[in-house]
């Protein structure tokens, strides 16, 4: 209401423009807008927080909003052109700011409750009510030396407006979070401003004061302006402190977010992209559908043995060096990833097939150079397969599959080379891949089987044991020979699992044989270079309870070549368990006598190719004689393999071989047949 005598048609407007100092009103309005802007930002953060963090954020939002609302009110009050002297009650004034902060803080907290409608209504109403309560407590602190009168209807209207707009603002803030829309946030700021402004000026319209005759009139406008500035500065500091907390929090969150994104998209070891990020980029490129490119897959050769024999630490070192070399060779900015293990891939964009060939040749050359790490020389190499978008596939899956097929072809072509995908590669490689898949499942499908070829004492002809030979009964392709699948298993890194299974099977089966009989099991060179071999062996012996003295492990000379220090260490450990070692296929390889001397060897098996040519071929006959004598003088037992005729048997035993094995005695047979053989021999002897 206006000063009596200056009634207007729109009392609220005349209240603003007539009864207030406009400079102060503008300052208050600025405070209100800035405060509301910052409040809404903090409020959004409060609504996104949970648990204790929501309390903290509610408090910070409350302090900021309360300070802004209170400063708006107070500055506007100072701008009120009262016709009477004015004083402020300090205690009530302070109480009003406490109400503003605590009340709105509670409102912000409640607005984040689980039940949405209720949260909006209760939270919004609490905020509106606190604005109103702050205003009217502030008005009690406003001591005017005159006749004060209040209009009940304007008071009611002002409170209703404050609550109404605060609820609307709450609803809009919540909507802005759900829809990520800036528009809702802007509208929320607007309605918060409206809530504060309408409350204040409607509330001031409800208030009127007229001077009492005899008292001096007019407020001390200069002191009030100074106070207004002080309040505005203090409130601004509070409000901007709120803003800066928000900015700091946002920056921290953004930095954390970036770090998380980096972790999620990069390979920790090499710093290159990981498979996930590469798939994403590849998918994006494919979906663009334009601008052809090449996908190049790189696979390291001979990496698995490095990991197995030198340990993962050195394997990782080597991978890091390799990654750095690849990056060095490729043009800067090439999209390059480590897909896992020893697999890398990159996208060759804007390069012709000739240029890619050039890059791949350089990669092949540089990756084939040895890596020196911790005093070890690690010899690796790399093969590459290339598929061209969109001729060799339009989807990431097709491209990867075809680049993979080309990679297989490169490996099959002798490794350390690259191959572009060609249609004819598919069929051949699919076959191999299906065999690979099947082999991975062979153990669990129970398709592996151990057959045994018995051995006899050369003098008495009595059984002394048998050699275990693995068979694969493929569910579609029938029985596959070890000569076919063992090399594949070695290449695929499955030989250790298969080897361990065969060892366990042989030890279990041989437990039922007579106590003097031994079982011989073949070890692949890859197994000997596996550091876990001794542990596996020890565990199998423990689990089966099979006496180690009755187990013989057969190795070939090639297993000793090149890796003799490691092989010697492993074999010595195996020997220490009580297990015997025999050297298979002797006479075919280097047949170095130094091996017999340096390695802990209990038995030599003369290769079948010599036995097959005896007794007619003089050369072979003298080799057998020589080996038998060598064995006798070194105290090493000698077994002749591949005995097929009686004359071969007679010759070998006459020359001093201790043990005979071959078709003449028996073919490899399943375990139950072997047991029958042994039983028959026992009953004949009895």
């Amino acid at each position: 209401m206006a000063v009596p005598g200056e009634e207007s048609n729109v009392p609220v407007l005349s209240c603003i423009f007539v009864e207030h100092d406009l400079k102060m009103v503008l300052l208050a309005a600025l405070m209100c807008v800035v405060g509301s802007f910052i409040t809404v930002r903090l409020w959004r953060r409060t609504l996104q927080a949970s648990g204790r963090m929501r309390v903290e954020w509610s408090f910070l939002t409350g302090v900021t909003a309360g300070a802004a609302i209170w400063a708006t009110h107070f500055i506007a009050m100072l701008g009120y052109l009262a016709p009477v002297p004015i004083t402020f009650d300090a205690q009530l004034t302070i109480f009003s700011i406490v109400i503003a902060i605590a009340g709105s803080g509670l409102g912000f907290y409640l607005s984040g409750s689980a039940r949405k409608t209720q949260a909006t209504l209760v939270g919004g109403a609490t905020i509106g009510l606190s604005i109103a309560a702050m205003h009217y407590v502030g008005m009690f602190a406003y001591r005017a030396d005159g006749v004060v009168s209040w209009s009940g209807s304007y008071i009611a209207a002002s409170i209703a407006c404050a609550i109404g707009f605060a609820v609307v603002s709450t609803g809009l803030v919540k909507a802005s979070i759900e829809s990520h829309g800036r528009r809702y946030a802007d509208l929320a700021i607007l309605s918060l401003v409206v809530a504060i402004v309408t409350l204040h000026f409607t509330g001031m319209t409800a208030f009127s004061v007229s001077p009492i005759a005899g008292l001096s009139s007019g407020a001390d406008s200069e002191a009030f302006q100074a106070m207004a500035m002080a309040v505005a500065v203090a409130a601004t500091i509070i409000v901007f402190t709120g803003l800066s907390s928000h900015v700091i929090d946002n920056d921290t969150r953004a930095a954390n977010q970036r770090e998380l994104e980096h972790i999620a998209s990069h390979d920790e070891l090499t710093g290159l992209w990981n498979r996930r990020q590469f798939s994403k980029v590849l998918a994006e490129r494919c979906s663009r559908g334009a601008g052809s490119f090449h996908l190049v897959m790189i696979d390291l050769d001979r990496f698995k043995p490095v990991n197995d024999t030198l340990g993962h630490g050195l394997g990782d070192r080597a991978l890091k060096v390799i990654a750095a070399r690849i990056r060095h060779v490729l043009p800067e900015g090439t999209e390059l990833a480590r897909l896992g293990g020893d697999e890398f891939a990159f996208i060759a964009d804007g390069m012709s097939a000739e240029e890619i060939t050039g890059s791949c040749r350089r990669l092949v050359e540089i990756l084939a150079r040895p890596v020196i790490a911790e005093g070890h020389v690690i010899e690796l190499g790399a093969s590459m397969g290339i598929a061209r978008a969109f001729e060799n596939g339009a989807t990431p899956d097709e491209l990867i599959q075809n680049a993979d097929i080309a990679l297989y072809a490169a490996k099959a072509a002798g490794r350390s080379c690259h191959q572009f995908f060609e249609e004819r590669m598919s069929e051949k490689i699919q076959l191999r891949r299906s065999l690979e898949l099947d082999m991975r499942r062979a153990i669990s499908r129970d398709e592996l089987e151990v057959h045994y070829q018995p051995k006899v004492d050369a003098k008495t002809g009595a059984f002394t044991g048998a050699e275990a030979l693995v068979r694969w009964n493929h569910h579609e392709r029938g029985q596959l020979s070890p000569a076919l699948f063992v090399p594949l298993a070695e290449e695929l890194g499955l030989i250790n699992a298969i080897g361990a299974w065969v060892l366990a099977r042989a030890c279990t089966d041989a437990s039922s044989w007579p106590a003097h009989m031994s079982v011989a099991v073949n070890l692949s060179p890859v197994q000997i270079m596996d550091r876990r071999l001794v542990r596996t062996l020890r565990q199998i012996l423990k689990e089966t309870g099979f006496p180690p003295q009755r187990l013989e492990l057969e190795i070939t000379e090639t297993a000793l070549l090149g890796n003799d220090v490691q092989a010697l260490a492993t074999l010595t450990e195996i020997r220490a368990l009580g297990v015997k070692i025999s050297l298979d296929d002797f006479g075919t390889g280097y047949s170095s006598l130094s091996y017999l001397h340096r390695f802990p060897i209990d038995r030599i098996k003369i290769d079948r190719s010599f036995v097959a040519r005896t007794p007619s071929d003089a050369g072979s006959a003298s080799i057998i004689q020589a080996i038998a004598r060598l064995g006798a003088s070194l105290g090493i037992k000698v077994t002749a393999e591949g005995i097929e005729t009686e004359s071969q048997r007679d010759f070998s035993s006459a020359e001093g071989c201790n043990e005979l094995q071959g078709y003449l005695i028996s073919r490899p047979v399943p375990h139950h047949q072997l047991e029958a053989l042994f039983a028959k021999a026992r009953s004949e002897a009895a």
């Binding site: 024999t309 060096v321 150079r369 040895p370 890596v371 020196i372 911790e374 070890h376 020389v377 690690i378």
Partner: protein, 146 residues
């Protein structure tokens, strides 16, 4: 894989050979070789490496000795250097003492100078025997600087 060294912090020695990559079919300029040697002298002095670089026609034979980490880093730098082709690591051993303590990188190259017939003959012999008898070749390399 070669035998790992037994002493972790020991002196190590690597011996490799490589060919200068012919860029555009042009033979390697003496100035370019001088540049390579100069860079290598500077790098090696910085990380405590010593050794010798022999040049026999278009083949380089280099011996580098020093601490394991420095050797590894230097060899890696050589590996990614595209000026090399046909790079072969002939030998890596751990050593008690340096063979070329006074040289950050001695450089001996063959040329047509008739006064250097003996040197040229030695270089050729080292070139031919380095892979089969590295020890003897090393002795001969040492004597080149005597």
């Amino acid at each position: 894989m070669m035998t790992p060294s037994t002493m972790a912090s020991s002196l190590q020695r690597i011996l490799y050979r490589s060919k200068a990559r012919q860029i555009g079919g042009a033979p390697l300029e003496p100035a370019a070789v001088a540049g390579i040697v100069e860079t290598s002298v500077r790098n090696n002095a910085d990380c405590g490496l010593s050794g010798i670089l022999l040049q026999v026609d278009d083949t380089f034979i280099q011996l580098i000795e020093g601490e394991q980490a420095a050797i590894e880093a230097t060899f890696e730098r050589i590996c990614v250097d595209e000026r090399h082709s046909d790079l072969v690591l002939i030998d890596m051993t751990s050593a008690e003492t340096r063979l070329f303590p006074e040289w950050s990188m001695a450089h001996v190259g063959s040329n047509g100078d008739p006064m250097r017939l003996q040197v040229n003959r030695d270089l050729k012999e080292i070139y031919l025997t380095i892979e089969t008898h590295p020890d003897a070749a090393l002795k001969q390399m040492r004597s080149l600087l005597a």
